[in-house]
C-alpha cells in the first residue's frame, strides 16, 4: 500500500513532523557521506508538464541519494506535447511499471486527477496556483535548523500570494505547526478571500513584517505587469521590497527566505538575499532531503516507527 503527497492542507501535524524528521535523518546521513541503507529500490517517474529546473534537479538528486531509478518526462520532449491527456499519460506510466509519480503541472488539482488513475503514490511537485508541498517542507526544515520550534513564530509571506502555490503550502504547514502566518502584499495580489486560508492579510509591508521571525519573499512574476496588476516594477519595489531598511522593523534575527528564482532588486535587494539573515541557500539544499523523505514516505502506509529517539537539536 502507499499514500499520496498531494497537499499540505490534507496532512496532519504529526505527518508533517514525521516527514521533517525523516528529512533530518537523511540529511545527517548524506552530509556525513554515509550511504542510505534499508531503502528498497524504486522506479519513479518525474512528470514535468511545466518547465522547471530547480524542483526537477532537486527531485533527481533526492532519487539518486535513495538509489531510485528515475524516468524523466518533460513537456517538450515526450508524448506530453502530442496532445495526450493527463489520464492517458498516467495510465501509460502505470503500464511501464513506474511505481510512483512526481508531478508538476500548470493546472491546480492535476495531481489529484492523476491519483485517480495511477493507483500508486503521487508526489505533487507544484500544481498551478494550488500547492507545492515539498517546497514548504524544505522551508520548514530550514527554519527548524535555526529555531527550536515553529510554534509561536510570526511568519510573513510577502508578495504575490494570489498566484502562489508556495504561499499556500507554507501557510498550511506553518500554521499547522503553530506559527502565526501573515500574507503581506498589495490587495490586488492577495486571494479574494482568506476565509478558508490560514493567514491574516496585511496590505502594507511594514505592519505586515513587524516583529516577524521569518520573512518569506515570493517571486514577482513578470506576467503580472502584462496582466495590468501592477503599475510598475519600481512602484512595487518601493512599496514591498524586502531590504536592509525594511527588515529593521522585523525581529532582529529574522530569517529571510525565498523559494526562487529570485528577481534580484525587485522583491529582495542584495543585502537581504545574500546577507547575514538570508537562509536562501539552505532552503535549496534542504529541498533535496525533504524530497528524499517524501519519496520514501509515500511508499509507507503509516508513520514509520521511530528508529532513534530525537537527540540533541531541533524538536519539530
Amino acid at each position: 500500500m502507499s499514500r499520496n503527497l498531494l497537499s499540505i492542507r490534507h496532512l496532519k501535524a504529526d505527518e508533517i513532523r514525521d516527514l521533517i524528521k525523516t528529512a533530518q535523518d537523511f540529511k545527517k546521513h548524506v552530509t556525513a557521506g554515509k550511504p542510505i541503507q534499508n531503502v528498497p529500490r524504486r522506479t519513479v517517474g518525474l512528470l514535468f508538464f511545466e518547465a522547471s529546473t530547480r524542483t526537477r534537479v532537486s527531485f533527481e538528486q533526492a532519487a539518486s541519494y535513495l538509489g531510485y531509478n528515475i524516468s524523466v518526462f518533460a513537456a517538450q520532449s515526450s508524448s506530453l506535447s502530442k496532445g495526450e491527456t493527463l489520464k492517458d499519460t498516467v495510465l501509460t506510466l502505470k503500464g511501464e511499471r513506474i511505481e510512483a509519480l512526481v508531478i508538476r503541472h500548470r493546472s491546480s488539482g492535476s495531481p489529484q486527477l492523476a491519483a485517480r488513475f495511477f493507483g500508486g503514490p503521487i508526489v505533487n511537485a507544484g500544481d498551478g496556483e494550488h500547492e507545492h508541498p515539498t517546497q514548504a517542507l524544505g522551508d520548514a526544515l530550514t527554519i527548524l535548523e535555526q529555531r527550536k520550534t515553529i510554534k509561536g513564530l510570526k511568519i510573513a509571506i510577502v508578495g504575490d500570494v494570489l498566484h502562489s502555490r508556495v504561499a499556500r503550502s507554507n501557510a498550511w504547514l506553518l500554521s499547522k505547526l503553530g506559527a502565526e502566518v501573515r500574507f503581506v502584499g498589495p490587495k490586488i495580489l492577495m486571494p479574494a478571500s482568506n476565509a478558508l486560508l490560514p493567514g491574516m492579510i496585511y496590505n502594507d509591508l511594514l505592519p505586515g513584517i513587524q516583529d516577524c521571525d521569518v520573512v518569506m519573499c515570493l517571486r514577482l512574476q513578470k506576467e503580472r505587469m502584462a496582466d495590468g496588476l501592477l503599475s510598475s516594477i519600481g512602484q512595487y519595489r518601493r512599496s514591498y521590497q524586502i531590504n536592509r531598511e525594511t527588515l529593521k522593523i522585523a525581529a532582529p534575527d529574522c530569517l529571510v527566505m525565498h523559494p526562487g528564482p529570485i528577481n534580484r532588486g525587485v522583491e529582495v535587494d542584495d543585502w537581504a538575499a545574500d546577507g547575514p539573515l538570508s537562509v536562501i541557500q539552505r532552503q535549496i539544499e534542504n529541498g533535496i532531503f525533504v524530497r528524499m523523505a517524501a519519496l520514501t514516505w509515500v511508499f509507507e502506509t503509516k508513520t514509520k516507527p521511530k528508529a532513534t529517539k530525537t537527540k540533541k537539536g531541533a524538536t519539530v
Binding site: R9, G109, L162, L196
Partner: protein, 448 residues
Amino acid sequence: MKIILKNGRILDPSTDLDVIGNVIIEDEQIAEIGDDVEIEEDADEIIDCTGLWITPGLVDMHTHLREPGEDHKETIVTGTQAAAAGGFTTIACMPNTTPPLDTPTLIDYILDKASAPDAGGVFVAPVGALTLRNLGEKVADLAALKKAGVVAVSDEGCPTQNALVMTRAMEFCQQLDLPIMAHCDEASLSEGGCMNEGPVSSLLGLKPLPRSAEEIMVMRNCLLALHTDCHVHIMRVSTWGAVEMVRQAKYLGARVTCETCPQYFALTDESMKDFDPNYKTTPPLRTPTDVDLIAQALADGTIDVIASDHSPHAAYEVQVPFDQAPFGMVGLESCVGVTLTFLTHPGHLSPLETIRKLSTAPAQILRLEAGTLSPGETPVAQVTLIDPELEWTFDVNKTFSKGKNTPFHGEKLKGKAVWTLCGSEIYRDQSFDESRSQVDMSEQSIEN
C-alpha cells in the same frame, strides 16, 4: 385509446387549478379534467393516481442536444429520451452546436431528427443562433429562422459582447416578435475563470469567475430590453445581484423574463469536492446567500422559470484538470427531483408554483402550445405524473443521456416524474408502480 388518470392531485398553473380529481385522455387529447369529472370503467387504461401529481407535460426551455456536430456528447435521440424520462414533453434546444443553428436548413435538420421514430417522442422547439456562426458579430437572418420554426434566438455559448450588435438584434427581434434568450457574461471579466470568486477559489488556487461578470451583462441586456421593447429572457441567473437587475427591469416595465437552474438553488461553491469538474458550470456555483435569494426570487416571481441547462459532455472531456474541463452539467433527469427536494419540500414554492416554473411559464415565454391541461389548448395531450413523496437516489449510470457529468450523482432526492405522456408516446419510469394501472384486457382479446 382512452386513458383515465383517477384521483390524482391536478396541478394546472395555466388555470390555477389545484384539486384532487380525474383527467380523461381520449384520442391523444385531454377530454375532461377536474374534481367533478365522472369516470366510467370503459377506458383502455385506468391509472390510480392517489398521492401523485397530474401536471401538464414539463417544458425545459434550455437544453443542449449537441446535434449537429457533437454527437459524442449527446444526440437528439438520447437527449429526447432523457427529456421524457425526466418528465418533459417539450424541450427547447440551444443553437451552440457545430455548426451553430444559424440557418433554416439546420432548423429543418433538428425538427426532422426530433420527429424520428427512435427519438424520445417529445416536442423539440429549436432556438436559433442570434448571430452568424454564433460569433457575436453579425446578426443572423432572424426572419428566415423564425419562418423555419425557431421559438427564440440566443447567444448561448458566445455572450454578445458588442452592445451595438445586441441592440440591433433586439430591434429585429422586437419587430419579429421573437424572444432573445441571453447568455449574460462580460468576457473581459470572466476570461480564464473556472469557479466562483471567493474563499474556495482562493483555497484551491483556481481562477475566478467574478459575479460582476454575470451581473454587468444582465444589467446591460435588461437596459437594452427596456429601450428596444424587445422580449429578453435572461438565462441562468445565479447571483442575488443579477436577480436585483431583473427585478428592477421588470419594475421599469421592460419585457424581461428569466430562469435559474437547479444547481443554483441546490449547490454552492463550497459543495464542490476537491477539483471535481462535475461541479464546473457557468455561471459558477455561488454562495449560500445567493442560493437563499434565488429561492426567494423564485417564490416572489422575479425568476419565472426553472430550466435544466442540460449540458452533456463525454466522459473523457471531463476527466481532465479542472481548469481545462468544459462547463456544464446534465440536468434533464435530475431536474424534478432536485427542484422538489430543495425548493418544494422545504416550502419555498408551492406545488402549483413549482409546476408553473417547470411547465406553464416557459411555455408562455416561448409561446408554445404546451404547459396546460386545458382541453384543446395543445395539439396533443401532454401530461406528466409526478410522485412527490418518492425517495430515490440519482444514479447517472441509469440515465438515458449520453452525458454523465453531474454533481448530483448519488444524491438522495425526494420526488420524481414517473410517467410522461406526449400524444401517443408514453414513458413509464422503472419506479412507476404498475399496480396503479388497470388495463382493460377485453378489448385486446377481441382484437386478437
